[in-house]
Structure formats: C-alpha cells, structure tokens
Point group: C2
Chain length 348, copies 2
DNA sequence: GTTAGCACTCTTAAGTATCGAGTGCTAATA
DNA sequence: TATTAGCACTCGATACTTAAGAGTGCTAAC
C-alpha cells in the first residue's frame, strides 16, 4: 500500500490533534478538520489503512487512534526537512555578556525548560581538544598554593594544593612564567611526557613542585570529567502531561533525571550517533531512546560548539507527543544564536 | 486533663507506629504493643482523651488515629531533649580532604538524601562576616583581566573584567601587591569608602582600574548572593511516601523544590528563628512550615558553621511522619563531624 | 479502673448497569 | 469506483450498589 498525499494529510492531522489533546483521535474529529472534505466513514477507511501500515495504533478496540513510534518518526522527519523557525526571545539571554560558560549553560537550561514546557538538559563542554589558555599559582597560605587554570571558552578551575616546603615569592613568580610559557596553547593531550620532562628540567630545584602541580592539574581535569557537568531544569514539567505523571512513571522518570550518570550515558550515545545527522539535531522517539526508564518519552538533542572543539549537548525531554515543531525550531534557533554570540565573544 | 505517664506511652506508641506504617493506628494495634498490658477498650478511652487534648486526630469517624501537628511537636521535643546518636558512616565523606567547600556541600546533600530517604537541602555559606583571604589579578587577554578572590573557607570566585587600556605586567604586579596588602584580612563590610579612597590614591594612575576591579569584586559577591547557592538532592524520595506522592501534591512539592528562591526564603526564616534554639537544630512540622506549598511536610534544619562567620543551613525535608529520631541524630552527628573536620583543616 | 461485647460508622474493594465515543461493515449513492 | 449514510457492536469510563472489614463509642459486667 502506498502513502499517498491524502493519507499523509490525515496522518498529520491525527498526530497534530493528538499532540494537543493527548487523547486518542476519532474519525469524526478528523472529518471536521478544515482542509479535508471527507466524511468520517472515509476517514475511517483511511485510518484503517494507516493502522495496517503501522503509523497509528488503536489503544483498544473502540477507541480512536494514536500515533505509533513510526508515525511520530514520519512526522518528525517531515518537519526536519522543512523548518527554519521564528526567532525566540532567547536572544536576550545572549546579549548580556557571559564570562563563565557554566552560568550561561545553567541559564540556558532554565530558559529552554520554561520556553518549551518540557525538561531541559545541557551537558557542560568537555575538555576535549581544548587549549590551555592560562595557568597560575598563587600562595594563599604558608604551604598552600592555589592553582587556577583556564581553557578556551573561559572555563576556570581552581584547586588548592599542599606543598611540603614553602616557596619563595621569587621562585613562585618564575615558576608561573615557566608554566605559562611551556603549557599555554597546548591541548590537554599535548601535555605529554616529553613536555613534562622538559618542564621539570627547567624548573630545576622545584621539579618536585611542578610534578605536584601537573598532577593536580590533571587530577582537576579528570575529576571534572567524572563530576559530570550536567545542568537540568524543568524536570517537574512532566506533571503537565497526564500520560507521564501517574505515580509509577513520574517517579521513575524523575529519578532517572536525578541520576547524572544515566544522563551522561544518554549524551554519550547521542554523540556516537552524531555521524548520521547533518544538522546535528537528532530525535529519539519512545523505544529509540538509548536509556532505560525513559522509553515513554522522546528526546530532541543538539550539539553546540563554542569554537575550537569546545562542545557539548543540549537535550529537550518530553512526552512522545511533544510539540516537535516548536522544539526543533527553538533548538535550531538556539544553535544559530550560540554561534553568533560566540563569534561576537571571540571578536570582542 | 493531664498528660500522665500512661498517656505519654500510648501517644508515643501511636506516633511510632504511624511513622512506620503511614496508616491510621487503631486501638487494637496499640493494645498488642508489647510494653502495655491493656485491652483495646482501655486504649480507646485513653485515645479518646488524647484526641480531646489535641495530640491525635481521627481522619474520619471509624478510622484509627493519626498524630496531629501538636502530637508530632510533642514527640520531637521529647527526642530533642533525649538524644545523642550513633555515628554514621558519614565520617568517610569527611576524611577525604576537601579543597572546595562547594563540592563538599554537594556531596553532603547527596549523602544526606541517600541516608535518610528524604530530600536534603544545603545552603552554601553566606559571605557574612568573612575575611577576604586573597585577591589576584591576572592578564588572560590583551584587555581582559581575571580576578580571583578567595575568602575564609577557601571559597573561590572568578570573574573576568575588561579594561580599557592594557596594563603592563609590571603595573599589574604592583597592583596585585597593593590590593592584597590593602584588602586582605578585611571583611566585606570593612572594605568601606575610606579604604577604597586610600587604595585609589596609592594606585595613582591606575585608580580607574582599581575602581573597576572593586566594582567587579563587589558585583561578584552580590551576584553570588543572588545566584543562590543551594544544593538539593533526593527530591524524588518523596515518592516513597504515598501521602505525598499523589499527583497534585507531588507536583507542587517538586516544583517548590526546584525554585531556589522559595528555598532561600525557608532558610532565611530559619535563620531568623534561630535565637529560640540552643542546639541550632530546629523542626518545623506541617503548618509551622514557613513556606507555602510544603505544609504537608516537615523540615528539620540545622546551621553549620565553618569557623569565623562562615555559616550555612542544612535541611531535611520529608513527610510529617518522618523518622525524627533518625534525622535528628544524623544531623546532630553531622554537625559534630563538620566541626571536627574543619578544626583539622584549620590546624593543618 | 478495666474489660468484654455489641451496634454503628465509614472506607475500600468488588461487582453491576449504563452511557457514549468510536469502530467495522454493508448497502446505497454520485 | 470512490464516497457516504446507517447501524450493530465493542469497550472504557462513570456512577451506583453491595459486602467486607477495621475501628469506634457506649454500656454493662468484672
């Protein structure tokens, strides 16, 4: 059987209606759908076909139809190939200059959740191919040093380390100059044994301190990798959708949302699949969802990039009947804004 | 009517049973309660009295009794005056040295939530009477300075500021020395106009930069005050308690838990009331709860102090029938641990 | 003062009847 | 041949009834 124009119209009408109401859609409802001038009986026949083709489902014998995962998929693919969306007020958020990316991301998550009425999730940028931009040791106590590192994108890390024997201010100054001249501009990966050995040689007496500092820097970076930087917001929005908010499900979902590890898995999965998509936007519907415990949901993800390998993932999680059109639009728009904002930041 | 020993025993038995089951408690149940050798009829009489006195409530005519807020209050006060509790494994958490208080707090919230099976909330320490411990400017770009400030308790803030005209390295060095010698050891309040004027004089040509830096420092501090530092964990634990987890209530509760402003209100309220308590531990039951939207819950709060005015609040939020004994014990214990940990840190 | 006994209340669960939205099928129609 | 009207049928949702059970309050006996 073929999916002709009329079937498509009807399928779209069914899905659209279902997205709004959340209730199974009957033939009469569609028959009254403005564009179509067909009786409910005709619609019934078509619906019967569509069901046979797997695009829609009957929850029980005498109910209307709801979209199947395949139906959603069809709908989403349609939109993906169509849309370029209106501009949201999210610009405002961008206009205020942001020094710390973390803050921006937190706010973004909030804005996304508020805008879409779904749950939003943003993974912090990975220390991927980032260049070290700046490193500084400061004495904050007789035998404590504060290590400040900063990488592309102005992401700043502080660690305090203990040194056995106090450094003189002069040595500290030299050490700082040495560290910066040796390490600045290198990616984390590029700071290899060769570089380290050379560095230690040059540090002379304080080789041991350098060792400690490097350890701590590496540690800070790794620790941060583990201390997953994932910002979430609007988890409670799921209560707006009855099909998700009944006790059992809501509980499981919210629990999942609290477990950053699981979310990290989701993001990893997304990044692996990225190849298959050109816009960088992906949609997982129902069973396509990579993580357990969210099989009743859909998630729309997008990768953002703040220049030079500093990249992360944004996700919108909602019910399967989420307003894909709006979400896809918002995300696409956001990507553009991020691009512009970062370009500006850079040229600034 | 008087609350004699037997009434107290029965009241306690009722509350204890209710804490476990969450179901109204009948006279027969209490009659079977080991310590008491009374028939259900006698218990009924006593229960009738207790109800008249306002300690327990009948949800409906032919149900058992549940504790009223007054009943809980009585129970909690009893415990408060009794307990000094067993040591939890929370020590482990303390033993690993923590450089950044924020991280500690985050972990603490998680540990508390996991331990108690309630929701936990920790407010970050306020910049209260804190002494500035360290300040440093670093050039990170041709016209960008990184300002690192650190106050007692090793809480570190980074801000990036733009300067109109680039500073020479030499000037920057001097400025750093000047800033540190002038400001270190002062509380935020002590950095007043007098200090600032003197500072600017000494800075000479770079008075303008100093101005900018101070603005940014103040801004950073204030911004942080607004950007409420509240860590929460275990919000989804409420699903473990049926009386909270039915749709409407759960939604409202979780929503409240997502709104850091409201939580901040709660904490402010707690800090105002602190005078009335000697241990620093307070319990709000049901309607006593200062914030709307949590009237069905109880919250146990405690103030922690990490030396010299660096203080914050810990809260455990759960159903009215929370296991007060355990929670109070855990918190009291935690306070001690924090004390020890911080003393060690300090003497280190 | 305590207890046994009993009638009474009220919730909960299970069973039953009814309603209505929606279907599938058939026969009539354009 | 495609569309439509008509109708019997299905099945979830809703409301109502009933029965069971837990628990009370009261009274009278111990």
């Amino acid at each position: 059987m073929e999916l002709d124009a009329r079937k498509v119209t009807i399928l779209k009408a069914i899905i659209k209606t279902y997205l709004e109401t959340g209730e199974p859609v009957g033939s009469r409802t569609i028959s009254k759908f403005s564009d179509l001038k067909l009786s409910s009986a005709t619609i019934r026949n078509e619906m019967s076909d569509l069901e046979e083709m797997g695009y829609i489902i009957q929850p029980h014998t005498s109910a209307g139809r709801i979209p199947s995962d395949k139906g959603y998929r069809f709908y989403v693919d349609q939109i993906l190939s169509e849309k370029d969306q209106e501009v949201t007020e999210m610009k405002e958020l961008m206009i205020q200059r942001v020094d710390r990316v973390e803050l921006l991301l937190k706010k973004l998550a909030q804005a996304l959740a508020a805008n879409t009425n779904y749950a939003a999730l943003i993974s912090g940028p990975q220390y991927h191919q980032n260049k070290l931009k700046f490193i500084q040791l400061s004495k904050v106590d007789v035998n404590k040093l504060l290590v400040v590192t900063m990488v592309e994108g102005n992401i700043i890390k502080n660690t305090i380390i203990d040194v056995k024997e106090p450094l003189r201010d002069e040595d500290l100054l030299n050490l700082n100059i040495l560290l910066n001249s040796s390490l600045t501009g290198l990616t984390i990966e590029e700071i290899n044994l060769g570089v380290i050995t050379r560095l230690k040689e040059q540090a002379g007496l304080h080789g041991q301190v350098v060792d400690l500092v490097l350890n701590e820097v590496a540690e800070a970076i790794r620790a941060d990798d583990e201390d997953l930087q994932i910002y979430t917001s609007g988890a409670t929005n799921i209560f707006k959708y009855p099909e998700l908010s009944d006790g059992e499900k809501a509980s499981r979902l919210l629990r999942t949302f609290e477990e950053k590890d699981v979310l990290q898995d989701l993001i990893d999965e997304v990044n692996q699949n990225e190849a298959g998509s050109d816009t960088g936007i992906q949609v997982y519907i129902g069973d396509e969802m990579p993580v357990q415990g969210m099989k009743d949901c859909s998630v729309v993800t997008a990768n953002y990039e703040l220049g030079e390998g500093l990249r992360g993932t944004i996700g919108i999680i909602g019910p399967k009947r989420m307003d894909y059109e709006k979400v896809l639009g918002t995300l696409k728009n956001l990507m553009t804004q991020l691009d512009i904002a970062f370009k500006k930041e850079k040229g600034d």
